[in-house]
Symmetry: C2
Subunit: 502 residues, 2 copies
């Protein structure tokens, strides 16, 4: 290894160690931290973020990179590592430090105000803070775009899913926006009302079931933990993966599906190649890919009929007999489609419509085509058009998500791009693994995990987004598999192929 | 505030934030971390330690200090803050970075080997690793001493209890070594064998009792947690204090006393002045002072007759009737004196003798008067002389403590200096608080905590060691109060005053 590459590896491993430390601190903040620790914790995380940023933006990193790139190493892992290092270094240097600081202050304020505004359903309270954030994010996107040679919104997308551009998002979202509203109508017309459980399910029993399921899916408890927090998440310092669940005594199914979702994330993190740990090429390939792993696990596998038939037995073993959890009723409960106002409660048919609304609005905000003051009306209009419902208040409308208050513009599309990738991966997995349904009907995930390890996890960030999609699924991303699987599961009408194809 | 002082405050607050982050990571490591997380965690902590060190050793800190010192601010807090900053900066710059690195590697190796050697009771396995550490620590002490104008061993003591020198330790330990062996004999002759509990006590009930006691002592659960780990400790990122307990079903009393001991540490940490948080002057005054707080709480207050009579009622409330926990028997159980081989199990009479042995041996090792190979024999000899017992093997002898493997020479004396300070503080508290025994007999700690806050906690590191002892207790440290309290509690003979006085 050349001197420059050795120095780069050392530098990036240090940055990784700092980010890993921050990951554990964030986990602790959500799971254990007493409220009196909040202020100091904020200072700890800000200090670590600044140190990591300075190590990354350091001009000497650019010099080492130039030297290492000139070596022209042919190993694809090395080339990819240098590509990722270059990308991060460019992004870290692209934005004026004064702007970074102003944005940090503005988002800290905005998040606080957002919490209060949401509680009081008072958009006017939030509007000036959001306007501040939008202005600063617009400037940040401009500076990033200039440095990376990307359009401003593409530069934001690149921060979450490197390689994903708005042209691709637009191509994929157009057929979804066109067809999904009809498919939702179709599904609702076919829906058979499930029997709902009428009793409570002790958290202790839910906890035991969750641990059993998570272990079955392949989670390695020697490299991670399952704890509890208000909002389930998967974080920590991979491969030491810390995921959390939430056990609502009245709704065990949502808790179980959430924990399976997080396990999809966790398995990806635990499956990254250990020998690349700490190098940029050894990290995950981006938010949309991460989301494809959680959605494949939850939406495609765990909400499938064969798995639910198996799960019914485990529910009975842990909770005793419950008519609502009889296999066929369980399928109706878990596969039910509903027009709701809340994104995080949405099913796989309606979820993309929530995302498309936010994607349209955030692009319009950044382009200056929509004023922050016009947002609530635009939100209600969009909900009526896409989902056929209008939120009764802003708390359940435009104020429901934290993302914009944090300055996370360009994040929302990753959820639905991830869902489309999950559908493609599921189709490819079915082709490769004969009798996949039998595995699911027996609660066996060994072949599934091995397939994911090979096709996605072990590749880490070696491939670009486009390469990874093609290598893992056999072609470029489109909406066909997604529509096809909706047809299969919900009996909704077929959507012509060739839409959303590149 | 001058520009230099503002920059110093900013720099030291950053260092504090990094150290606070490390505190939480170390807590997580002991309490929650899966074993697969160990390697990455080691890298995280090493990275943070190096960053904090570099920020502290940075030459610009010396320039700011010179500028700020020249301002000649009269505020005692400011002067003390600059004094502590100067001390830390000097220590960080004193040691050759290559030596720091070699010592880091040597102690990492030595600790690993020590664990195995202890498990196998095989000193020969550990000896070469320990010899390496001793050589490097000797050189480190020399470099530190040169920079600080201190004798080498004093420079090591200064790293744990700033301001404590070996002359003072020698003055204090001489009468202890002379009289304690006879007092132990005396106490054993007077001992009445207690009835021992013959059943098990569910950890769940112990946990509830521990939380109740900790809250009564004044622990603020909004700024801390009580969890569990193999070895109880108090850490975290004060004022977010994370302490741990261990609940042995067969020995609830040792767990309770340990948790009270840790609460003494925790109350000190939580009582440090919040408006100085992150500045060196706002931190604790050193290990011996910290130990005085835990030992005062455990040895002087919780093991006192009036408190134990109150505790008997709480034990019955949580565990049901138990003859061994009848008040007078409980006192005999908790105040029993025993000649043992293990330091951490020792009572307040024998503990200092364990410390004196280690202090003699570590000074001799560093001075080159004792070879590592001679250590086991010297240990046995010293145990026979001081404690009248000889450990049956090295596991229960020279291999029992982790300290030397970590390079922590100069630490042991702090335990016993802390015990002497606890005795002085207890005497002063009794003078100040009329009817203190009544508070203890009712399990009330409000006045006690307020007294400690005023005399010790709120002073943080404003006073030097010598000033703090004088201000808090009315005079220089001596052994009189310690001996007097042993006489009172155990009925052992009086030791003439005026010994160990400066």
């Amino acid at each position: 290894m050349s001197r420059a590459r050795a120095r780069l590896a050392d530098r990036f491993r240090r940055i990784f160690a700092i980010e890993a430390a921050a990951g554990i601190l964030q986990w602790d903040q959500a799971v254990w931290m007493p409220r009196g620790g909040a202020e100091l914790r904020g200072r700890e995380l800000a200090t670590l973020a600044r140190i990591a940023h300075d190590l990354l933006a350091d001009p000497v990193v650019g010099e080492w990179l130039a030297e290492a790139e000139a070596d022209g190493d042919a190993d694809p892992w090395v080339r990819a590592d240098l590509r990722e290092m270059r990308r991060r270094h460019l992004r870290a240097r692209a934005v004026d430090p004064a702007l970074v600081e102003r944005l940090q202050e503005a988002t800290t304020r905005a998040e606080l105000v957002w919490r209060e505004a949401r509680a009081r359903s008072d958009f006017a309270l939030f509007a000036p803070r959001l306007a501040e954030v939008v202005d600063l994010v617009r400037e940040r996107a401009r500076q990033l775009g200039t440095a990376l040679g990307l359009a401003p919104y593409d530069a934001l997308l690149d921060g979450y899913q490197p390689g994903l551009g708005d042209a691709e998002v637009t191509r994929l979202f157009a057929p979804l926006a066109r067809h999904l509203p009809h498919l939702v109508e179709d599904a609702l017309a076919r829906r058979r009302e499930p029997l709902r459980p009428a009793r409570e399910f002790p958290p202790e029993a839910q906890r035991r079931l969750a641990r059993e399921l998570v272990a079955r899916l392949g989670f390695d408890f020697d490299h991670g933990r399952l704890d509890e927090s208000t909002h389930p998440f998967c974080g920590g310092a991979p491969p030491d993966v810390r995921m959390t669940a939430r056990y609502d005594p009245r709704d065990p199914l949502s808790g179980i599906m959430a924990v399976i979702h997080e396990t999809g994330h966790a398995l990806y993190s635990q499956g990254l190649p250990r020998d690349r740990l700490g190098l940029p090429v050894g990290e995950d390939r981006g938010i949309a890919v991460h989301e494809s792993q959680s959605l494949l696990m939850e939406m495609k596998l765990a909400r499938s009929r064969p798995f639910l038939h198996w799960l019914a037995g485990r529910l009975e073993a842990h909770f005793g007999p419950e008519p609502a959890f009889a296999p066929d009723n369980l399928v109706r409960l878990v596969q039910r489609v509903e027009r709701g106002c809340i994104r995080v409660d949405a099913d796989e048919l309606t979820y993309p419509l929530h995302v498309i609304l936010r994607w349209r609005l955030e692009r319009a905000l950044l382009a200056g085509e929509l004023a922050v003051s016009e947002l609530p009306a635009a939100w209600r209009e969009g909900m009526a058009e896409l989902l056929g419902v209008v939120p009764p208040d802003d708390r359940r409308g435009v104020l429901q998500d934290i993302h914009w208050s944090l300055g996370a513009f360009g994040y929302f599309p990753c959820y639905t791009v991830g869902a489309l990738l999950a559908a493609r991966l599921f189709a490819a997995m079915r082709r490769d693994l004969a009798d996949l349904d039998e595995d699911l009907a027996e609660g066996r995930f060994e072949r599934i995990l091995a397939w994911l390890r090979r096709r996605v996890h072990a590749r880490a960030a070696r491939d670009t987004w486009t390469e990874l999609v093609r290598e893992a699924t056999g072609g470029p991303l489109d909406v066909d598999a997604f529509f096809h699987q909706l047809h299969e599961r919900y009996g909704v009408h077929r959507v012509d192929a060739a839409e959303g194809r590149p």
